[in-house]
């Protein structure tokens, strides 16, 4: 599964570079593979941010609210 996803990611990156367009709004779009980097790092960031918030600030035992 990991290999399949890695292959797809690389393929999509190559496709992005190969077929990038000229009329772009932001500079990073010229790279053609911005979404690959953003997707990978963004996903990792979200997992660790949520787990950090959950573990250290937001988790409580199930009976925390009692009758309320």
């Amino acid at each position: 599964m990991k290999r399949l996803l890695l292959g797809l990611t690389i393929l999509s990156g190559i496709l992005g570079i190969w077929m990038r367009e000229k009329e772009l709004i932001y500079g990073w779009e010229k790279l053609g593979f911005f979404e690959v980097v953003f997707g990978f790092l963004g996903c990792m960031g979200l997992i660790f941010l949520s787990e950090f918030l959950g573990k250290f600030f937001l988790s409580r035992r199930r009976s925390y609210y009692g009758d309320f």
């Binding site: 797809l8 600030f57 409580r60």
Partner: protein, 578 residues
């Protein structure tokens, strides 16, 4: 065709009362017929357009029809049909009654032409939703329903205050277009709409209440309250700049909180917050593309979110379990494939996977955000879509139907009724149909725009984002393992806050009791003193046996005292005269 002169919401109100006259099978036929008749009424809006009624001297308009109200009307009726189909096996009359009332009220909101009728249907919708939550008949549902009621009564009070102030400021009760920029009245109306749209920090009622409803009742809840709020925002507050930011933050907030949930329907409820964030941002951006995007996303979202709730609702129905920690590793995929595949259609739709419904609506808003140069909201919305993908297409299905642990014990699973399967097939079909045939939806959208979801650029960007984030999830899937804990949110302020308030009231009451006791002692002291002032020492020592005042015994000291007082008084008077 006089029969279609009936307002679409009236079919639901009439049907709700007729339910009680029919047996179980008849009730199912009635509900399906009501949804179909209402849809036919929607197809012939000129028959009932402009319906008014004079109530308490006010001319109320119930038939405001334009492309914006119609697109919401269509999807509200379609989802009522899907929900009725899914719940055909349910014998509980109360749930059906309130579901029909809820659908009718939501349609009432959509076609209201003035603020008073809007307010009436708005409140009716809140009450119906509470009874739908209570239909689950669990202690948790009862408590969550009360909290929902309190929050929405507060929202209703804000709306009413806003309407009254707006009327005072402008002299108008019309709700046919953008609300004039005036003062406090308009702001209060906006806040009440934002509360129903579950904009943080006014959102906690949603993930608190929706998971407590029954598997069938929750389907309606996911559709009406938040999306009718999106409708009123689109109508009255297009281009309200602050909504772009609120929407973008909301989209990410919902996703971050969703990732750490354990309850499958609470996780999906946070994704309602997140997805409505896109719609709110679309309203805020205020271009034709973004606002059509909001309407389109409301349409597709209602369908796929109901489908996701149907899939997870089927799991709860079959197993009686709702926590991923209780479900994972028990081979549920083999036991409940009927819940898994429709769920995945919903997951692909919400994640904007090509050829599924979300792909034709969500990028409209994100693209509009980019075109208008809102860089940070654009990045937040983009990031939120990654979170949606990781959560709904990986975490929830993995830890519900599969999972890391291999438990020995198997689950006792009840068979899923045919009606539930039919409801899921119907919505899966619509999600795929819209994904494959976008013009079906685009032609009914309210504002003119040009957008091609299946152009080369969108497809490649989508493939890049989905594949790279899927790789990231797969590498870190173990970090997503749910834990048997609850996650705090803004409801802490009124749940723990209420406890603090009660404690404070208790302390204030205690202080009052102490003061009362002290005053009683003071009064009793003076009472005893007045009986016999000569016993002062014994009164202070609180001795039991006090001798009563005896006039003869104290005649001399009292007489001397009176004599001295008279002399002093005489001298004072003399001095004043001189």
């Amino acid at each position: 065709m006089g029969i279609f002169k009936v307002h679409p919401s009236l079919w639901f109100f009439l049907g709700a009362f007729l339910l009680y006259l029919l047996p179980h099978r008849g009730r199912g036929i009635l509900r399906i017929s009501v949804a179909l008749l209402s849809f036919f009424s929607l197809l012939r809006p000129w028959e009932w357009e402009g319906i008014t009624a004079r109530i308490f001297g006010l001319e109320l308009s119930f038939g405001q029809v334009d492309k914006l109200s119609l697109v919401f009307g269509y999807v509200f009726v379609i989802i009522a049909f899907g929900g009725f189909l899914y719940s055909l096996h349910v014998k509980e009359k109360g749930e059906h009654f309130w579901a029909m009332f809820y659908a009718g009220s939501a349609l009432g909101v959509v076609f209201s032409g003035d603020l008073v009728s809007l307010y009436l249907f708005w409140e009716l919708m809140a009450i119906s939703a509470v009874f739908l939550i209570w239909s689950n008949k669990t202690p948790e549902a009862l408590k969550a329903g009360y909290r929902y009621l309190l929050i929405h009564l507060f929202g209703g009070a804000l709306l009413l205050s806003g309407i009254l102030l707006h009327f005072y400021e402008t002299g108008s009760l019309s709700f046919s277009g953008v609300l004039e920029k005036t003062g406090l009245g308009r702001s209060l109306i906006l806040v009440s709409f934002m509360l129903n749209a579950a904009v943080p920090p006014l959102h906690a009622w949603l993930p608190d209440a929706y998971p407590e409803a029954s598997p069938t009742g929750a389907i309606y809840l996911t559709a009406y309250t938040t999306k009718s709020a999106v409708y009123v925002l689109l109508r009255a507050f297009p281009g309200e700049a602050i909504l772009t930011w609120f929407g973008a933050i909301m989209a990410l907030y919902g996703v971050v909180w969703a990732i750490i949930q354990n309850d499958i329907r609470r996780l999906l409820s946070y994704h309602i917050v997140s997805q409505v964030g896109y719609m709110v941002a679309g309203v805020g951006i205020g271009t034709s593309l973004s606002m059509s995007g909001s309407a389109a996303h409301a349409f597709t979202h209602i369908l796929y979110k109901a489908l996701l709730f149907m899939g997870t609702g089927s799991v709860i129905y079959a197993t009686g379990r709702r926590l991923m920690t209780d479900l994972q590793g028990r081979g549920l995929f083999k036991l409940l494939p009927w819940a898994f595949f429709p769920y995945m259609v919903g997951a692909f739709s919400i994640s904007s996977v090509p050829f599924f419904s979300g792909f034709i609506s969500k990028p409209m808003i994100v693209e509009a955000c980019k075109e208008e140069g809102h860089l940070i909201p654009y990045l937040l919305l983009h990031l939120a879509s990654i979170g949606t993908w990781l959560c709904t297409a990986f975490k929830l299905p993995y830890y519900t139907w599969f999972g890391n642990k291999k438990e020995e014990s198997t689950l006792a699973v009840s068979p899923i009724p045919m009606s539930m399967k039919a409801g899921m097939i119907f919505l899966s079909f619509l999600c795929i149909l819209l994904g494959l045939w976008p013009s079906l939806l685009y032609r009914v959208l309210p504002y003119p725009f040009e957008f091609h979801p299946y152009d080369k650029k969108h497809l490649i960007e989508s493939l890049q984002l989905l594949s790279s984030s899927a790789l990231s999830v797969w590498l870190f899937i173990n970090y997503l393992e749910p834990s048997d804990k609850i996650i705090l949110d803004c409801d802490w302020f009124y749940r723990k806050g209420a406890l603090l308030f009660f404690n404070l009231c208790g302390r204030i009451y205690g202080l009052r009791t102490i003061l009362q006791e002290k005053m009683k002692e003071v009064v009793s002291f003076f009472e005893l003193l007045s009986l016999n002032p000569f016993e002062l020492k014994r009164i202070i020592r609180q001795e039991e046996s006090l001798s009563p005042y005896h006039p003869n015994r104290y005649r001399l000291p009292v007489g001397i005292g009176v004599f001295i007082f008279t002399i002093v008084f005489f001298i004072m008077v003399l001095l004043l005269i001189i």
